[in-house]
């Protein structure tokens, strides 16, 4: 026991608390400033969901860590809090406020860590009026999907995340004995006509007689998306099956046969399939009479889940999401002259944790300051 206390001792330091809080403030400041350049999502990843902030000297692949990232600061703060309580604090009624406040903080930190690690990514479901989908798509990530379409009732999807694709990479697929070799890869590309190339030697991937993909700088803007393009070959037992070029901006599959099976390959936004389907019956964009000012956005959908005998309509509108089987569908956007709805799909089993933590913190503060106030008033009365 004494050994554990000895190990924990350095973490009980108040200096460490100050260091962590100061680092957290600096991180929040830097992240907020950089958000202008790289967008909310990338800022979140670089500053808060990282172990270090890295400095990349220009024209090099070096990554030099220069400041602790959110994971390290958060973990240190968590251990600091727990260790301080274990080593110093005694559970007395007088300290109940501080204990509650700190347990709220601990719960908040642990909850966030678990949400980061185990929770699925947020995604979007884009539905045209009358369209049915049983999957949502990532707004940030793409996949090279190799689909075995040989079976009559189902397809087998092998999803290679786009982060695994880079020039020269060889990827052995876990099914079908296939190997994908990436001959060239652009993390972001634009589709242009061949006549738009500045000169024939300009780097490009020909997609067809009328379009080529040219590399673009990666975008971090809030309203834009990176659309990768790839040139890849598929091998089976070292025998070349074929070479194709695909672009996520033009997600049409290519078909091929290997080992007596039919396959399709497509570069597309990463899909998250659900055990149920949603049909958009109607999207409404109501405006105040005589103006263009939006009054209400709503999507009337039909939820179909044969495994649970569920077939019902639901209305999704602002602050009234549909919650079903652990997924939450929010009204997030629209497109296509109000003919298409965009639903944000979130899956977060720990969504209640921040509410519980904040309640604990508020109660803890009220108790702590309330007790101080009472004893102060009492002293004044006596005096």
């Amino acid at each position: 026991m004494s050994k554990i206390v000895q190990w924990l001792k350095p973490f009980t330091s108040l200096k460490l608390t100050i260091f962590c809080l100061a680092s957290a403030m600096i991180l929040v400041f830097l992240g907020t400033i950089d958000q202008v350049n790289i967008g909310v999502y990338e800022a979140e990843n670089r500053y808060f969901k990282s172990f270090f902030l890295f400095f990349v000297p220009p024209h090099t692949d070096l990554r030099i860590p220069w400041f602790p990232g959110g994971y390290i600061v958060g973990s240190l703060l968590l251990v600091n809090l727990v260790a301080a309580h274990a080593a110093r604090f005694r559970l007395t009624w007088k300290k109940i406020g501080i204990v509650l406040l700190h347990s709220g903080l601990i719960l908040l930190l642990v909850g966030q860590l678990f949400a980061d690690i185990f929770v699925d990514l947020e995604s979007q479901m884009r539905l045209d009026q009358g369209e049915t989908k049983n999957y949502s798509e990532s707004s940030y990530f793409d996949e090279l999907a190799v689909i075995d379409t040989s079976a009559t009732d189902s397809d087998q999807v092998i999803s290679v995340p786009s982060s695994r694709l880079s020039k020269g990479t060889k990827i052995d697929l876990p099914a079908g004995g296939l190997r994908v070799v990436v001959n060239d890869y652009y993390p972001n590309a634009a589709l242009v006509s061949p006549s738009q190339l500045p000169h024939p030697g300009y780097p490009h991937l020909p997609l067809g007689p009328m379009a080529v993909a040219v590399p673009l700088e990666k975008t971090y803007k809030q309203d834009e998306r990176n659309l990768p393009a790839a040139d890849f070959s598929v091998f089976q037992n070292d025998r070349l099956i074929g070479t194709w070029r695909l672009a996520a901006g033009f997600p049409r599959p290519v078909s091929f046969q290997a080992g007596g099976k039919n396959y399709e390959a497509v570069l597309r936004p990463k899909r998250f399939y659900k055990p149920f389907a949603i049909t958009l019956i109607q999207f409404r964009h109501d405006r105040y009479a005589g103006t263009d000012i939006a009054k209400n956005f709503s999507s009337r959908i039909r939820l179909l889940d044969p495994s649970r005998h569920e077939d019902r309509e639901s209305l999704i509108f602002m602050n009234n999401p549909l919650r079903y089987r652990g997924f939450t569908f929010y009204q997030a956007g629209f497109d296509n002259n109000d003919q298409t709805t965009v639903l944000q799909v979130a899956q977060n089993p720990s969504w209640l944790v921040p509410y519980i933590s904040c309640t604990l913190i508020v109660i803890g503060m009220l108790l702590q300051f309330g007790m101080h106030l009472v004893s102060f008033v009492k002293r004044r009365v006596i005096a």
Partner: protein, 229 residues
């Protein structure tokens, strides 16, 4: 006595001892979240899904389904047979003529101006082994019309009489606010003459969904957020 002996007298040494202890503990501390987050890496996934029923969408009568990212509808004239769409084609048709002849009709679309009208018409001329023309000369061969508030251009190109591959192209180019659409019919001259009216009916049937207000392509990356309104 023991307590006294343990207490380091030198503050500096005390600091060092604390740091080395900190190192040991830090190693464990860093290992834990790194191990946990490694569960979340970019793995290749394999899963099964029920077959997607695409046939329902394709069988809606004569009206071709609009693809969400391109948003145009058209009506296929009678007598044309639908062909499978390929990598670039959003619409593909075949018109059969006498003695096994056939004309090929394609619909393609590109963002922006797709290289401009002149270079595209000259590209079509190149396919018929005709020399490219300057903009001024070309404008004499192009007919202009307005469809749904945006310009549409028509050309009728024919290969030279002594050409090794005699052929003809009827083409239409729609310049929409965010995309350019190309409708092209290629085949023997006589067959195209007999199909001319159907081609123009087909071109007239095009209905675009692009909103003229924003000028933005209706693509997933440019959808509007309900927070912006």
């Amino acid at each position: 006595m023991n307590v006294k002996a343990r207490k380091p007298k030198n503050r500096w040494r005390c600091g060092l001892a604390r740091i080395s202890q900190l190192h040991r503990s830090c190693a464990i501390l860093f290992f834990l979240p790194m191990f946990l987050t490694s569960c979340n890496n970019d793995k290749i996934e394999v899963y099964r899904i029920p077959k997607e029923d695409l046939t329902v969408a394709m069988e809606r009568g004569n009206l071709a389904p609009p693809t969400p990212e391109h948003s145009a509808r058209w009506v296929k004239p009678d007598g044309w047979t639908e062909q499978p769409v390929s990598e670039m084609r959003l619409g593909s048709f075949k018109a059969d003529g006498p003695e096994g002849t056939a004309a090929d009709i394609s619909v393609v679309s590109f963002p922006g101006e797709a290289g401009g009208l002149v270079s595209n018409i000259n590209r079509w001329r190149g396919q018929l082994e005709l020399p490219p023309l300057e903009e001024k000369q070309l404008s004499e061969t192009i007919q202009q019309k307005e469809i749904q508030g945006a310009p549409a251009f028509f050309v009728d190109l024919q290969s030279a009489e002594n050409s090794s591959k005699p052929s003809r192209i009827l083409g239409a180019v729609f310049q929409r606010p965010s995309r350019t659409w190309f409708v092209k019919m290629t085949g023997p001259s006589a067959l195209l003459e007999s199909q001319r009216q159907k081609f123009f009916d087909f071109v007239d049937s095009f209905r675009f969904n692009d909103s003229g207000q924003s000028g933005e392509p209706p693509s997933p990356s440019r959808q509007k957020s309900t927070n912006d309104e």
